[in-house]
């Protein structure tokens, strides 16, 4: 009740103005049968200090992120977030405001989106990007829907190596529409096999979807895969889970990708047990009218001053209704702003250095782990900051023993792939120190 600014006396006064003798009368339009005769069965209200204590105690039931070494990736990445990000997204003008439908009062938000759109275009090498989507998985679903609309074809080849949860979500979100998703397995080297893919691409394929780096951490040859897609007139859609990789890897747009989409959580958005995250999508300019979600464009007022507005809104649900390109309404506003701040703060050089360091640390760990007797790297091709380590025994048992010692040794892949029960997906970023990595190697050796 401390959040309600009117006093009892003031509320009485308003009731009087309305000619009502009690607040109960405000609900006369609700049939009496539905009006609760009892208070809701909820815990008693907590004062702020008690609330914080309670929530802090709950948060402590999780693994302590600073007392343990965590080597997890798999679609969510631990990166250092500069203090500037949180400081600026905490400004009430940014977080307490609404979608910028009244542009004269929202130029801060709108310009921020315009800058984000530009940064995503620069990172991906494509011409136009939207103001963000819910997360990487729904971005994939939207990308598939876009290809279906743009090409008027109903088959989509989803290469092995796309994040398995993304594929599940994409199936759920597109299941009722006339779209067939074909999912060939990866090649034995842990990357998408051109031969396999070429054999299933047909003139009915709307898109070939590949992930870069793929779920096993391998760098894919986007250029030859894009060519194969284009030969049958299909779009090449590249999914990115780890956006920091774009600081080092070639922009997919420059390699033939028509759509680049995925997850930008790595760029300044906290892990937060899986959400809120930040989906993104960029496309070639000819597909701009098919782009789902919000778009901000430049505009001028009558005095020639430059401003920013939501534009091409007729694609969206609130005007097209059932003919909309999607049903999406919110974007991930504040997460998008966090990413813009992160990219602006790191800048051209910082993004490259951050990516190089991730790569160096992961390579160091990879080499050291591979030297452990019985362990090997089953897919020795190029990787960014994630790789598969094959153990001599069942991975989840080893993982549990290491967890008891305060180390989260990556992700046991048997969870997603029954044939990979001995494999761990290890991710190393700049928050994993050398001593943490050395300790991981030492403990792994001890446990095996």
């Amino acid at each position: 009740m401390r959040y309600i600014p009117s006093s009892t006396a003031e509320r009485k006064k308003l009731l009087q103005v309305l000619g009502l003798d009690s607040s109960e009368r405000l609900f006369d339009s609700i049939p009496a049968a539905y009006r609760l005769k009892r208070p809701l069965n909820l815990p008693p209200p907590q004062a702020e200090a008690d609330l914080v204590a309670h929530m802090r105690e709950l948060s402590r039931r999780n693994l302590d992120p600073y007392e343990s070494a965590v080597f997890l990736g798999g679609g969510a990445y631990r990166h250092f977030i500069p203090a500037v990000v949180d400081h600026l997204i905490s400004r009430a003008e940014f977080y307490s405001s609404y979608t910028p439908y009244q542009p004269e009062f929202s130029q801060g938000t709108l310009q921020g989106i315009f800058e984000f759109q530009t940064l995503i275009c620069q990172l991906t090498g494509l011409e136009v990007a939207n103001a963000s989507l819910y997360d990487g998985a729904s971005a994939l679903a939207e990308g598939i829907l876009l290809a279906h609309r743009a090409k008027r074809r109903s088959r989509v080849v989803v290469a092995g190596g796309i994040h398995p949860e993304y594929v599940r979500v994409a199936r759920t979100l597109t299941s009722r529409l006339d779209i067939e998703m074909i999912t060939p397995p990866l090649g034995s080297d842990g990357s998408a096999s051109l031969d396999t893919i070429e054999s299933i691409l047909t003139s009915q394929t709307a898109a070939l979807v590949i992930q870069q780096p793929n779920f096993l951490g391998r760098v894919e040859d986007v250029e030859i895969l894009a060519e194969a897609a284009h030969r049958v007139g299909a779009l090449c859609v590249v999914v990115v889970n780890e956006a920091v990789s774009l600081g080092l890897l070639r922009a997919p747009g420059s390699l033939g990708a028509d759509v680049v989409l995925g997850e930008a959580q790595s760029l300044g958005v906290p892990l937060s047990f899986g959400g809120p995250y930040l989906g993104f999508m960029a496309v070639r300019s000819e597909y701009v009218r098919e782009l789902p979600g919000r778009l901000v464009g430049q505009a001028k007022d009558s005095q020639g001053r430059v401003g920013y507005v939501l534009t091409l809104a007729t694609r969206e649900q609130h005007i097209r209704r059932e003919r909309a390109t999607s049903n999406i309404c919110t974007n991930e506003g504040l997460c998008m702003l966090a990413a813009t701040l992160f990219m602006a703060t790191l800048g051209k050089q910082g993004m490259r250095e951050l990516a190089l360091q991730n790569h160096s640390r992961a390579e160091y760990a990879k080499a050291a782990l591979a030297r452990i007797p019985g362990c090997r790297i089953p897919h020795p091709g190029p990787t960014f900051n994630e790789f598969v380590l094959e153990l001599p025994k069942e991975a989840s048992a080893v993982h549990r023993k290491l967890l008891a010692r305060g180390t989260v040794a990556g992700l046991p892949l048997g969870r997603f792939f029954p044939e990979r029960k001995k494999d761990l997906l290890i991710c190393v970023t700049e928050v994993n120190s050398r001593s943490q990595i050395d300790r991981l190697v030492k403990e792994m050796e001890e446990v095996l």
């Binding site: 009218r289 809104a313 007729t314």
Partner: protein, 134 residues
Amino acid sequence: MTEPKASYPADLRYSKEHEWVRLEGTVGTVGITFYAQSELGDVVFVDLPQKGRALVAAEELGTIESVKAVSEIYAPMSGEVLEANESLRDQPEKVNADPYGEGWLIKMKVTEPSELEGLLTAEGYKKYVEEGGH
């Protein structure tokens, strides 16, 4: 700015979906009416069919987008598309400024000229609009 008065050129025929057609021999020129463009607002994009596409009376042939709405365009008569107004790609505002002239949408070969009888005359359309238009 003074608003131009609504107009209903007498040499045209009109559909209840607010398209007009001007028939010259077997060639029909199709567009949307003054009333339609004023309801839509400033037109920003027009999506027109390719040359050669078959048209069936009352079926959708394309869409018109304004800042605040999207509207389907329906073929007033059956036939085949001869030409689409490419200039609307760069200047969609012509649809607002001159809906019966430079803002034409397509030219078509008309295969069933008798369908003209089912369309409204200028008088009939004017009455239709004044009574609510739907």
